[in-house]
């Protein structure tokens, strides 16, 4: 299709010098965003990239589209306004774990609940980078940071759990070092109608280096992660020798050929299932025995807020011919003085 070949990633790139630290995971995500946009083929003038405050929120300056770097935590609300005012635009929100889930938590859950058609890319490095190393709402319990010198005494949010709890219809997870899959997932999120949340696990080389190492490490990645694709079996491991099965109410990782498990026992991923139960269980995997789920975990169609707003206006207009204020006023309780 012409639309797919019309644009190159560089068409989405601005002339501004990228100021993230060398080695920061954000560089990779930026490249994936450029590539995903070229894949989608949306003209740069029809894209609005909104952000809040934090390292990742600098991203709009590196885009050759329309961009708005706003205030801390409020990006989701501003993006909602942009999209609702003009649903023809492709609207993106670039945000981090602090921006989106701490100060902006309320706007995030309500944007997701409303299902406004914006693409949220959530850069999760489990730390405040721009303010130089304080714990965030995704920092693990006990994490020692500058503002928790004896370790945190609180449990973190798991973004997927929050998004699904807020009735999210699209959630994907990816890792900064996996450019191919990150591009694929971001592109899929752009294609989804409604709020999409892509959590990118990014590394902060300065304040939280190696925080995702356990799963991003090339040596272990295939053993410790599973990349889910709709309609495909939930297989992982170097040679796809492992798979996921449901036992009772729990997911279990098994090895095919062991304990009598055959490929037929392995679950097939259905991202379009409306019931969140299995999506939630997949999102929460991790720890010692289970792989971390990556890819598009949930992708369900539902009424889209900005479209519903327009449809409602159109429905009222179809029944009510009044178009100007003067006509409206003359229809009310009016008396004439001659």
């Amino acid at each position: 299709m012409e639309a797919e070949t019309k644009y190159q990633p560089k068409d989405y790139k601005s002339d501004q010098y990228v100021r993230w630290c060398p080695g920061c995971g954000d560089h990779a995500v930026l490249n994936c965003v450029h590539k995903a946009m070229a894949e989608q083929g949306t003209p740069p003038e029809n894209i609005a990239v909104i952000s809040g405050i934090g390292c990742s929120s600098r991203l709009p300056y590196y885009m050759n589209s329309y961009g708005f770097h706003t205030i801390h935590g409020r990006g989701a609300a501003i993006a909602t306004g942009v999209k609702t005012a003009n649903p023809a635009l492709s609207v993106w929100l670039m945000t981090g774990d602090g921006d989106c889930l701490a100060i902006g938590g309320n706007h995030f859950i309500h944007a997701v609940r409303r299902n406004v058609d914006i693409n949220i890319v959530l850069f999760n490095n489990k730390i405040y980078g721009l303010t130089k190393g304080q714990y965030s709402p995704t920092s693990d319990r006990g994490m020692v940071t500058k503002s928790s010198p004896y370790g945190t005494v609180e449990d973190p949010f798991i973004p997927a759990e929050l998004a699904l709890g807020a009735r999210g219809n699209f959630f994907a997870r990816t890792i900064d070092v996996d450019l191919k899959n990150t591009t694929e997932v971001i592109s899929a999120s752009a294609g989804h109608k409604g709020t999409s949340v892509v959590e990118v696990l990014v590394n902060c080389v300065i304040f939280n280096d190696g925080i995702h190492k356990k799963i991003t490490d090339k040596d272990h990645r295939q053993e410790r992660t599973i990349f889910l694709r709709h309609g495909e079996k939930m297989l992982f491991g170097r040679d796809n020798e492992h798979g996921l099965v449901l036992e009772g109410l729990k997911l279990k990782a098994v090895t095919i050929g062991q304990d009598g498990y055959t490929p037929e026992d392995i679950l097939v991923h259905n991202a379009h299932e409306a019931d969140i139960t299995l999506h939630l269980m997949l999102s929460l995997m991790g720890g010692e025995d289970m792989p971390v789920a990556l890819g598009v975990i949930r992708d369900v169609e539902a009424p889209v807020y900005d479209r519903s707003v327009e449809q409602q206006i159109a429905a009222v207009r179809a029944k009510n011919p009044t178009r100007r204020l003067h006509d409206l006023l003359m229809k009310g309780e009016v008396w004439e003085v001659k």
């Binding site: 003038e45 706003t70 999209k83 609702t84 005012a85 003067h326 006023l329 309780e333």
Partner: protein, 617 residues
């Protein structure tokens, strides 16, 4: 019964309908003021609701009132004290005792003045009138509930529904008192209960019974005639300030050719603006309720970036929450209208009462040097023009505009001539297509005269750009922390706002050119100050009034006007915020001050007394 009824012709009269929250006093008052307006009277109304949604029946905190001021010539306020009070229960009598003229006519329903009713209103004797010292009043005591029930026996209503018509009986009685024909009231009832014809008929019967009762008893009270004056020809409607605000915004969007977007969150007393605009989908308005005050303004800022005439509406506590976002609109130089319907503060304060205490918050309540336009509406109908101006200045000068109204004018209403929008000035968005400099366009390149940057709306090819809360370079529009650049940008943003003084009307002075005393006010106190001035004129005093709509920037001739008069008094419902602001802007200005912060409108008699004292000092 022997005394002949007198007919007294008056220029002005104040009627107050008062009863329990459930007694329908708002409807009664609205119908009465509307039909009076239709008959050619000037009207000004003020509803006074309890803060509680459903206070205990018959209690003092549950009293709901509606006051209307009728006049044969211009009335500016709902009036200080009532000539006629309808008190549907003892609590209504008690809470209004200080708002009665000594010879006021008081209409009461004796059926709700029984022992336990008196107790609920904390009377200690069985004669509430004596207990309140109401010796001079003209009392019309009628068993209204009983008569309504008796009159409706053939209408097949249950007891409760029948008694609910008692407000219409009271209205009929008041219509008799003012020699008002009932047709208009009947017509309104038929409209109101169009889907329940039985209820409409019952209400009309109660209304007629009330009127006939007045006619038959020959009560020894005066009936009043308010002469009608010929108003300017045109079509009129009755409108309150919040509706007028909503319509002013619609008018501005229509003139500018823009989509109107409202992002809001419910808050007393501003919610009606959201509700009115949410209902205006036929006009294409996108008015939406969001999760909090901050989301209200942030969605509006997003909509503004996307090319809408964007508005958020709130009251003082909400304005505080929106402060940071207003700063974003200041530095991003995006058009935005922020409406603050002021109420009593600080904190939650007095949510249903009126004050002018948010002025300094509107002017200065942000971090950094963060200038914005601040304007104030002076009357319920002026809210239309003020909102129109707010939209015009926001769009043409790419700036947030804070429009201050208040609970008093937001809920008060008066007759309004439906405006001809063709007579209103045009609104021309500063689209990037107007850019015609030799240098290539950048986001913060400005019109050299107005210093206004151009509006490049997403979707326009070739004008992709990035804006945001970080300081930008004057020339390249890229992020900049360069010291001289910041100084220049701070000065430019201020100069842009100051320069708006050349685009707004000059300050006009009403009253005597050679006045000994200049009254200075702003916002919703206009009616009271005007009436005080007129009363003083009648007393032979030379007084003038300068009432400000434009506060930031001030009209260009402000200093000149203030210097003209030997004595100046700034009257406002706060501790002197505008007086201090004027002092900071006009060198050597040192006015007298009149400040009242009671959550209630000014009392004209008190203003006259104080201002006269100033003249005699």
């Amino acid at each position: 019964m022997t005394e002949q009824t007198k007919v007294v012709t008056l220029e002005k009269v104040v009627v107050r309908f008062s009863g329990d929250s459930g007694d329908g006093m708002q409807l009664t008052g609205t119908i009465f003021s509307n039909l009076s307006a239709v008959l050619g009277n000037e009207i000004s109304t003020f509803p006074d609701f309890p803060a509680e949604i459903r206070a205990p029946q018959g209690s003092l905190s549950g009293v709901s009132g509606f006051q209307v001021h009728l006049g044969s010539r211009k009335v500016f306020t709902p009036g200080d004290k009532a000539d006629v009070l309808v008190a549907m229960n003892p609590a209504a009598l008690k809470v209004n005792v200080n708002y009665l003229k000594p010879r006021a006519i008081v209409i009461v329903d004796t059926d709700s003045f029984r022992k336990n009713d008196l107790e609920k209103a904390q009377f200690t004797t069985d004669d509430p009138f004596a207990e309140l010292g109401l010796t001079g009043i003209q009392l019309v005591a009628a068993p209204i509930s009983t008569m309504v029930k008796d009159g409706l026996t053939e209408y097949g209503l249950d007891n409760k529904s029948a008694v609910r018509c008692k407000n219409m009986f009271a209205l009929g009685l008041v219509c008799w008192l003012f020699e008002r024909p009932l047709d208009e009231a009947m017509h309104k009832l038929q409209n109101k209960f169009a889907k329940k014809p039985a209820i409409a008929q019952a209400n009309i019967k109660a209304l007629t019974d009330g009127y006939n009762y007045g006619n038959n008893i020959h009560a020894s009270v005066s009936t009043y005639r308010i002469e009608s004056k010929k108003a300017a020809p045109g079509f009129y409607t009755d409108i309150n300030g919040n509706k007028a605000t909503a319509y002013g915004l619609i008018a501005a969007a229509e003139k500018a050719g823009l989509q109107l977007f409202l992002g809001s969150y419910p808050i007393t007393p501003a919610t009606d603006i959201l509700q009115e605009l949410a209902a205006r989908k036929e006009l294409g308005v996108k008015a939406l309720q969001f999760e909090d005050e901050i989301a209200g303004i942030c969605t509006a800022i997003g909509a503004s970036f996307a090319g809408s005439l964007a508005v958020t509406s709130t009251s003082g506590p909400g304005l505080a929450l929106k402060s940071e976002a207003i700063g974003l609109a200041v530095i991003a130089e995006l058009p935005l209208v922020v409406i603050d319907v002021q109420r009593g503060g600080p904190s939650t304060g007095l949510p249903t009462k009126s004050e002018q205490t948010d002025l300094l918050q509107a002017l200065y309540g942000r971090n950094g040097e963060s200038p914005a336009v601040v304007i104030a509406a002076s009357t319920p109908t002026d809210c239309f023009d003020a909102a129109f101006w707010a939209g015009k200045l926001a769009v043409e000068h790419m700036t947030p505009v804070i429009l201050l109204t208040d609970s008093f004018i937001a809920n008060g209403s008066s007759a309004w001539r439906i405006p001809d929008l063709d007579t209103y000035p045009g609104i021309k968005p500063r689209y990037v297509s107007l850019y015609n400099d030799d240098k290539p366009w950048k986001a913060y390149r400005r019109d050299p005269e107005t210093l206004v940057r151009y509006w490049a709306i997403p979707g326009t090819p070739g004008f992709e750009h990035r804006i945001g809360g970080l300081e930008k370079d004057y020339d390249t529009s890229a992020i900049s922390t360069e010291p001289f650049n910041h100084q220049k940008m701070v000065e430019t943003r201020q100069a842009k706002i100051d320069g708006i003084a050349s685009f707004i009307p000059r300050l006009e002075v009403m009253g005597d050119a050679d006045a000994d005393l200049l009254l200075v006010g702003w916002g919703g106190t206009f009616g009271h100050l005007c009436e005080a001035m007129e009363t003083m004129h009648e007393n032979g005093r030379k007084v003038a009034l300068a009432h400000f709509r434009f506060i930031s920037p001030l009209p260009a001739n402000t200093a000149e006007v203030l210097a003209k008069y030997p004595k100046v008094v700034v009257a406002e419902q706060n501790n002197g915020q505008f007086a201090n602001y004027l002092r900071s802007k006009v060198p050597g200005f040192n006015p007298y001050r009149f400040n009242r912060i009671k959550g209630q409108p000014f009392v004209v008699a008190r203003l006259v007394e104080e201002f006269t004292k100033l003249l005699e000092d």
